[in-house]
């Protein structure tokens, strides 16, 4: 599902699959990972989870595949405001081609269910360079996951996707900086 440019041989950035920072070496939306998980695979697993309990159990399982951050990595500037649980997001640039940078994403939460939701978010947004290509909310709705998009502050999913979009809009492209 991800639109990934062919890796440039001139890239100075590590390939996502061999990222030096273990936070970024997760399987979600990371085709270079040995156990890579893409949106099609997630859709299959979520659709197979018929009940809410099954969906919640699946989210808890997915959370286990997302590396835990160290306390030092959970800095205030990486924290996403607007969630009842604590959520941290980090971005690492991947230089795909001369004028094309995408972002490798990492995330953690103190809630297992929110961390499972973060796994979905990462799969949708990892290694993308802009936010306009994919309707994540529509994808969640198709999976019957709309309750996680409610205006409740419980999981703050919208705050998380908004933070990613803002990062894309506000960060200077590092290869042009």
């Amino acid at each position: 599902m991800n639109a990934i440019s062919a890796s440039s041989s001139t890239s100075l950035e590590p390939a996502a699959s061999e990222h030096a920072d273990p936070r970024f070496a997760h399987p979600f939306g990371n085709p270079g990972h040995a156990n890579a998980i893409d949106l099609a695979e997630l859709a299959r697993q979520l659709d197979a989870a018929a009940s809410w309990e099954a969906k919640n159990r699946l989210l808890v399982q997915l959370a286990k595949q997302l590396p835990d951050w160290s306390p030092e990595q959970k800095t205030p500037d990486r924290k996403v405001a607007g969630c009842e649980s604590q959520v941290w997001l980090a971005f690492s640039p991947i230089k795909q081609a001369e004028n094309n940078v995408s972002w490798q994403l990492a995330a953690d939460s103190d809630s297992r269910i929110v961390k499972g939701l973060l796994a979905l978010v990462l799969t949708a947004y990892n290694q993308r360079s802009d936010s306009g290509q994919f309707d994540f909310e529509a994808w969640l709705n198709e999976r019957g996951m709309q309750r996680f998009l409610s205006a409740s502050r419980g999981n703050g999913l919208r705050a998380i996707t908004r933070t990613i979009s803002e990062h894309w809009q506000n960060q200077p492209q590092p290869n042009r900086a």
Binding site: V60, E84, Q86, D110, S111, R112, V114, R153, G154, N155
Partner: protein, 412 residues
């Protein structure tokens, strides 16, 4: 011959009066501290008001307006009776507890007779944000100082610290909850008012969590202000009340301007109506006031001692059960608690637990419960709160405890 061991209070008899449980037969509703469900008596009263006597109050020269005014002022009398105010005029209708506290901060707080720059407002660490933020905003406007009142490790007011704070000649107001929404602690308001009044410090009591559970007699408590919401006492949303003792009420300036609150309006000067109208600008929430009165009448018709015994017994069952489940920490060990319990399960997040409980039809609240200073003083980031009401049953509590045990195993 007859079985004399029949329960004095049968929650199922009352539960049957709440249509929501017919529409959600498997619901275990343990979020009563956020809002209670509404009995038929309240829904019927609002509907009947609209069907039989809807009109605007206080002005109309026609029979419906008279009926509406009677219903609205009758509701004020019901509120006054329910909390034993000396006069109906001491009851100001508001949208709820939050607006009631803001009203007091914007009238008592703005009155030069009552407060000057440098005066002190004592606010307990237990308080809901609604009883903190309006005072902080007032402090910014008027240069008064907020003095946080400490808690004991059990989660009760530290009376020694209170005495220290009251020793200041500038202490003018104590803002304190009757019962904590986050950890349930009930304060000895009567004793606290006595202490404060000895130092000429007035007392505002946030009764949001007490009104549905405890007898409230504002004259016996001897508080100066008592505020509560209708929706936490089986009544509608959008209606609450501020009791303001008449000698203070007489001195208060208006806060919102508009119709209803004036005597004479002209561009050379406007004079204001007497309280309570002075503090109720615009068309009030009439049907909601009628609904609130129906709720209080309905509560008054119950054997409230038996109701209290029922809620206390369920609460004991809840806390005894929680102590048997490994990994559960109960927050707040006050000697007297309303029927709610805050808990955490570190490292398991309360939000995750609530999601699995919801899968089993169990409704609870998680988070900081709008009491961040308290939650931070407990050294945690949030709790899961189970709060009981008169229609909850022993089966509700058992289902909660069983589901919680299973959930903690899933998340372990």
């Amino acid at each position: 011959m007859f079985d004399l061991a029949v329960p004095r209070f049968d929650p199922c008899y009352y539960r049957a009066q709440f249509a929501i449980f017919a529409h959600h037969p498997d619901l275990v509703y343990l979020d009563n501290a956020a809002t209670t469900q509404k009995p038929a008596a309240v829904l019927d009263a609002e509907r009947q008001y609209y069907e039989y006597c809807n009109a605007n109050v206080h002005r109309g020269a026609h029979r419906l307006a008279v009926a509406a005014t009677d219903a609205f002022e009758g509701a004020r009398a019901t509120v006054a009776r329910f909390i034993n105010a000396a006069s109906c005029d001491e009851i100001i209708f508001t949208r709820g507890t939050t607006e009631a506290i803001n009203l007091i901060a914007n009238t008592f707080g703005e009155s030069p007779e009552q407060l000057s720059a440098g005066d002190e407002i004592i606010v307990s660490t237990l308080e809901h944000h609604a009883n903190i933020v309006p005072w902080q905003m007032l402090a910014q406007r008027r240069g008064v100082l907020i003095k946080p009142l400490n808690l004991t490790t059990e989660g009760e007011i530290d009376l020694t610290h209170l005495a220290q704070l009251l020793a200041s000649p500038r202490a003018r107001l104590l803002a304190i909850s009757h019962a904590s929404n986050a950890i349930g602690s009930i304060q000895d308001i009567r004793a606290i008012c006595q202490l404060a009044h000895q130092r000429d410090c007035k007392v505002l009591v946030d009764g949001a969590q007490a009104i549905a559970h405890l007898p409230v007699d504002v004259r016996a408590l001897d508080c100066d202000f008592y505020v509560f919401s209708g929706h936490k006492a089986y009544g509608p949303t959008g209606i609450g009340a501020a009791y303001i003792r008449s000698d203070i009420l007489r001195t208060l300036p208006p806060w919102q301007g508009g119709g209803e609150m004036i005597a004479v309006v002209s561009f050379s000067g406007t004079t204001y109506a007497s309280p309570p109208q002075r503090l109720e600008a615009g068309t009030p929430p009439i049907a909601q006031a009628v609904g609130l009165a129906a709720a209080l009448d309905w509560l008054s018709g119950l054997d409230r001692e038996a109701m209290h015994a029922h809620e206390s017994s369920l609460h004991r069952q809840l806390e005894d059960g929680l102590r048997q489940i490994p990994g559960v920490v109960i927050h707040g060990q006050a000697r007297q608690k309303v029927s709610l319990t805050s808990m955490s399960f570190a490292p398991i997040h309360p939000y995750d637990v609530a999601q699995f409980l919801d899968n089993r039809g169990i409704a609870v609240r998680v988070g900081h419960h709008c009491a961040q200073p308290l939650i931070h003083s407990l050294g945690i980031s949030g709790t899961l709160r189970a709060s009981l009401a008169l229609y909850n049953t022993a089966d509700d509590v058992n289902r909660f405890l069983a589901a919680l045990s299973e959930t903690l195993e899933i998340l372990a």
